[in-house]
């Protein structure tokens, strides 16, 4: 295959600039998330101290400490800066309902959620790539799978989860319904969560594949006697993968939200259920903490994907 030759300096500029832009945006996003969380706290009617404490009681000393920690006796701007500073130091505050720091509450739960998200992400990529490669440009297969994908996009994940549980766990007894250990216990929840991702991803991939398959270089490859599958896998797929990177943001968002639902359907521990409980109990420090962690994750993943993008797109690599 032929990489477009680019002088080394220009290539470096092409690499460095988007990374800088991304970093800038990332900082902005994080700052925005902190601001949203702060605004959420202060827009809520009621005394801020009471909101932070939630459905609980604390001693006057703790109350005084909260006022001092958040600078609640000072002007709003100072409070904002104080809060920003604390977050910068990695201090997400204290959950007065769980009797522990928010960071440690999230820390206890996030591992399980990340496992689930990674599992369903991996599943989604494998299935979507397979489906797209096998169906692109093939009339009947494509028609059938388009229909399936439409259903996959439309089905709410909690219902998918319930159906999977009913059929495969309670009915056939093939997979365990819950449990933190073992790969088997990840199967059903990650499938439930992956369904809409698979459906979306395979559509985009197939569209990309079909466009690429019409490109001249594909014809060249074919004329050299390369097999159809070979062309699809070695040439077309690489090009088709590029547009899916734009899906990344949506996927991170989706998987995070999906965790809230999936974890509660399957009684799994995790950050999603932690959030849900916090919302029901009005444990605002935890909700704010999760919002911050989510945006951090979003930013990190986007940076990683940018790097991946460089790896996939030959034109962005140096000569």
């Amino acid at each position: 295959m032929t990489a477009v030759a680019v002088p080394a300096t220009r290539a470096r500029a092409r690499v460095v600039r988007p990374v800088l832009v991304r970093l800038g945006t990332s900082v902005l996003v994080l700052w925005g998330a902190v601001t949203v969380a702060f605004a959420g706290l202060h827009l809520t009617p009621g005394n801020v101290v009471d909101l932070l404490i939630g459905a609980n009681t604390v001693t006057p000393e703790v109350r005084a400490r909260i006022v001092a920690d958040y600078g609640l006796d000072r002007p709003l701007l100072v409070q904002y800066v104080t809060y920003l500073g604390r977050v910068l130091h990695g201090d997400l505050g204290q959950s007065y309902q769980l009797h522990q720091p928010v960071a440690s509450a999230i820390g206890e739960q996030i591992g399980s959620s990340v496992q689930l998200m990674l599992a369903s992400f991996a599943l989604a990529v494998v299935v979507a790539v397979t489906v797209a490669v096998l169906t692109a440009g093939r009339r009947w297969a494509r028609a059938v799978f388009s229909g399936v994908e439409l259903v996959g996009i439309s089905i709410p994940s909690f219902w998918a989860g319930i159906l999977l549980l009913t059929v495969f766990s309670f009915g056939l007894g093939l997979f365990p319904a819950t449990g933190g250990e073992g790969v088997e216990s990840l199967v059903l929840p990650s499938v439930a969560m992956a369904i809409p991702v698979i459906a979306t991803l395979s559509q985009v991939l197939r569209e990309g594949l079909e466009l690429t398959l019409e490109e001249p270089f594909v014809l060249t490859a074919r004329s050299r006697g390369m097999s159809d599958l070979g062309v699809r896998l070695r040439h077309a797929l690489r090009h088709a993968l590029l547009p899916t990177v734009t899906l990344a943001g949506w996927m991170v968002s989706y998987l995070f939200g999906g965790a809230v639902i999936t974890e509660s359907v399957f009684s799994r521990q995790g950050i999603g259920r932690l959030t849900l409980t916090a919302v029901t109990n009005k444990d605002l420090p935890v909700v704010m903490g999760v919002v911050l962690i989510a945006s951090l994750l979003y930013v990190v993943i986007n940076i990683l994907l940018d790097l991946l993008y460089l790896a996939i797109d030959p034109r962005l690599r140096g000569a």
């Binding site: 939200g257 359907v265 945006s295």
Partner: protein, 286 residues
């Protein structure tokens, strides 16, 4: 190199549009019509009250008397699904309407308000888009408390950025196309230009996006109800029905299947019709 812009799972704006068979579009439209009818006048289709309980008729499987069976309270599931159409669909529609309105205003402000408003609006949109939608909704509910109205606001908050981006982009295109300059040179006021030229041109793509996004909003609303953050019982909302029935699935499949089917078919129909519209509109534009 990117050929597709993904706003949400339902909305892939790309160069190629695959067609849904005509029969499928008709079927989807017909289904939506049915949903609309039962949402407006549930009494036409279902007889009896959706809240009528009967302890002695709990968890009856579907039969002649109870078309879709009964739930744990002995309530007729068919009647509840019919009466549930209104609360289930209305939340999604209201959230979409709110988001379209808010998004349009924000988009216009960004496109026409000058550099500073543009930067501010678009950065806010970036931030909102970077937060997981459901999480944003949960934050809204944590702050405002659960309930239908708050759920509507919560969903609007997380679908709004998409519309803002779209309206801004469309407006920019129109602005550069020359006829706004022409209108300005003719001495028209800004408001008039927006009303006469910008909005009508942005309308078609906005409608398409909104149609498809209604599906997303419906799923979001039913998810919130499922999580217990939607309308209060005994409202027969579909997501809430699934949530209330989840203890009984192991012995009564019909409690689990039918409300979920109602949601899925509605969302599916919205998506199919939305994509059809999208194809038509884009075909006309290009």
């Amino acid at each position: 190199m990117t050929t597709s812009t993904i706003v949400s799972p339902g909305v892939v704006i790309g160069r190629r549009r695959r067609r849904v068979p005509r029969a499928g579009v008709w079927a989807a439209a017909a289904f939506l019509l049915v949903v609309a009818v039962i949402a407006i006048a549930p009494g036409l289709v279902a007889h009896g009250s959706p809240d009528l309980t009967d302890a002695l008729a709990a968890l009856r499987p579907p039969d002649g008397e109870h078309l879709l069976g009964t739930d744990a309270n002995g309530r007729d599931i068919f009647t509840r699904i019919v009466y549930g159409a209104r609360p289930s669909v209305l939340a999604g529609l209201a959230a979409t309407a709110l988001a379209v309105t808010g998004g349009t205003l924000a988009g216009l402000l960004a496109a026409l308000g000058g550099r500073v408003p543009d930067e501010v609006v678009m950065r806010v949109v970036d931030v909102l888009l970077s937060l997981p939608g459901l999480l944003l909704a949960l934050l809204v509910i944590a702050v405002a408390g659960p309930g239908t109205l708050n759920a509507v606001f919560a969903i609007a908050a997380y679908t709004l950025p998409g519309y803002a981006r779209l309206v801004r982009a469309q407006t920019m295109v129109i602005r550069r196309s020359g006829y706004v300059e022409a209108a300005v040179s003719l001495g028209l006021t800004k408001a008039r230009i927006i009303a006469r030229h910008v909005l009508p041109n942005a309308f078609a793509p906005l409608l398409v996006l909104a149609t498809i996004e209604v599906g997303t909003a419906l799923v979001a609303a039913s998810s919130l109800s499922f999580l217990g953050l939607g309308p209060r019982p005994p409202a027969p909302e579909w997501g809430a029905m699934l949530s209330a029935g989840r203890d009984y699935f192991s012995v009564a499949w019909w409690v689990a299947v039918f409300p979920g089917l109602a949601i899925t078919l509605t969302v599916l129909s919205v998506t199919v019709v939305g994509r059809h519209l999208q194809r038509r509109v884009e075909g006309r534009l290009s």
